[in-house]
């Protein structure tokens, strides 16, 4: 009889221990998508305290064990790992779950530089950060479309797959100057930047000289780059005259596509023209030439 009582007592203690051990039990979905909400399952009975600790939030609430706990979509907008802790008296249970980024909805786009000469290789770079509606970086590979175009010229388009939320591209500047539209798009999100493509260095610089009384007027043909784009007004063109008296130099700005200067007259002179590192033609005046 005594043994039977002992056995019953031991069984009761075991049952109580098992009950106490599961006094507060918690389970969570392994992962949910950002902004969709989730349900936590609790086991046990009575009131308990629940904490949800996320990357950017902490929630504390009283729950009734044995009932489901619904987490609202707005509580789970930030991607990352969440820790749920339930505590009743000294009994605690916990569960981790992941909130994954939602579908791509935004693009942050870095385009460099803002101003670039035409017809240069790999001078324009674009970096796109693919984000969901809650500014989480979408880590899954996503196709990102980059497009660069200037008015009246075909667009250059490249599609790159993002890696860990980032896609990038390096493009040549176009042969035509103008305000290039540089666009990055992922899903329905599209971001536009403007890259001002300017004429490159002058090319085939040519001038002519005419005598006008006691001085010489030198004037260039319309100054263009090698792609035929007129160089911007204000570009400096240097005329140099060398004769028996020495060297005279005049810096003239391109105005309406043409640079013009007045040099002192000379019986025998050589006049040259240059812009930056680009040399143009030479003209010899007098001396039978």
């Amino acid at each position: 009889m005594r043994r039977l009582v002992q056995a019953l007592l031991i069984a009761a203690v075991c049952l109580f221990a098992a009950y106490a051990a599961r006094a507060a039990e918690l389970s969570a979905p392994e992962r949910v998508s950002a902004g969709t909400g989730a349900t936590l399952h609790t086991r046990g009975s009575g009131e308990a305290t629940l904490w949800i600790i996320g990357p950017a939030s902490v929630e504390k609430k009283q729950v009734r064990l044995g009932e489901d706990v619904n987490l609202q979509p707005q509580s789970l907008r930030i991607a990352g790992r969440y820790l749920a802790i339930v505590r009743q008296g000294a009994a605690t249970d916990s569960a981790w779950f992941e909130v994954l980024p939602a579908a791509p909805a935004n693009v942050n786009f870095l385009a460099r530089p803002s101003r670039v000469p035409v017809d240069r290789r790999d001078v324009i770079s674009g970096v796109a950060f693919v984000l969901d509606a809650y500014r989480n970086l979408v880590l899954e590979a996503t196709p990102v479309r980059f497009s660069l175009s200037v008015p009246d010229a075909p667009a250059v388009t490249r599609i790159e797959s993002s890696k860990l939320g980032i896609a990038w591209v390096r493009l040549d500047s176009t042969r035509k100057q103008g305000a290039a539209q540089f666009i990055a798009s992922a899903g329905d999100a599209e971001v536009r930047r403007v890259v001002q493509e300017t004429a490159s260095d002058p090319c085939n610089l040519r001038m002519r000289a005419t005598s006008a009384g006691n001085h010489i007027v030198v004037e260039t043909d319309p100054v263009r780059d090698c792609s035929g784009n007129p160089v911007p007004d204000g570009t400096i063109v240097t005329f140099t005259q060398v004769d028996a008296k020495g060297r005279s130099t005049v810096d003239a700005r391109v105005k309406k596509g043409i640079a013009r200067a007045v040099l002192p007259s000379s019986d025998n002179a050589t006049i040259s023209v240059a812009s930056g590192v680009v040399l143009g033609n030479e003209i010899h005046l007098g001396g039978g030439q």
Binding site: V58, K60, G80, I85, T92, E98, S125, L137
Partner: protein, 176 residues
């Protein structure tokens, strides 16, 4: 015996001479800040090639950012975040600190180190993305009572950007 000693001397000399060369070629940099150890590997990062100064600055500043994060979440002080975080990352951590204060919670980290790999360095040199595998012991305290404690290993994707005087973390997201 003499020949053996000579061989030993030659091997020692070669090893001594080769050591600095091997160190120079070692792609892993180490940095520490407030007890946070970061092992940084930039092998193969692109498209921009990493500069020597950047290679030193990134692990140093990333370690400092984690030091700020752990201190801020332990002491519930958002102002500490400014030294290591900007933008979205700072906003989110500041919100976490505010919520911790409101609920009377704080967390303690015992950081066991970060294995950080550079995965992207932007063409113009203003942003770098890192993949960090960190292990730490986590303690969650309600007031002074520990309500949860466990060792954690997890992977983070961090985006660091250049600010006025250092690199700071702009995004920090746990990777699945």
């Amino acid at each position: 015996m003499k020949a053996g000693l000579r061989a030993l001397a030659v091997i020692t000399a070669v090893a001594w001479l080769a050591a600095p060369i091997a160190r120079a070629a070692d792609p892993v940099r180490e940095a520490a800040s407030g007890g946070i150890k970061v092992e940084f590997n930039s092998t193969g990062v692109g498209p921009r090639e990493i500069e020597d100064t950047t290679e030193l600055a990134i692990p140093r500043d990333y370690a400092a950012a984690w030091n700020a994060l752990e201190t801020a979440l332990s002491q519930n002080r958002a102002d500490i975040l400014d030294s290591g975080f900007v933008g979205v990352a700072r906003e989110r951590l500041a919100q976490r600190v505010a919520d911790q204060k409101k609920t009377g919670l704080h967390v303690r980290y015992v950081d066991h180190g970060h294995q950080v790999r550079a995965v992207f360095y932007s063409p113009e040199g203003s942003a770098m993305q890192l993949r960090d595998t960190v292990s730490y012991d986590l303690q969650v305290l309600d007031g002074n009572k520990v309500i949860h404690s466990q060792p954690v290993t997890e992977t983070y994707i961090a985006l660091m950007t250049v600010t006025e005087d250092r690199w700071k973390v702009r995004m920090l997201e746990a990777a699945p």
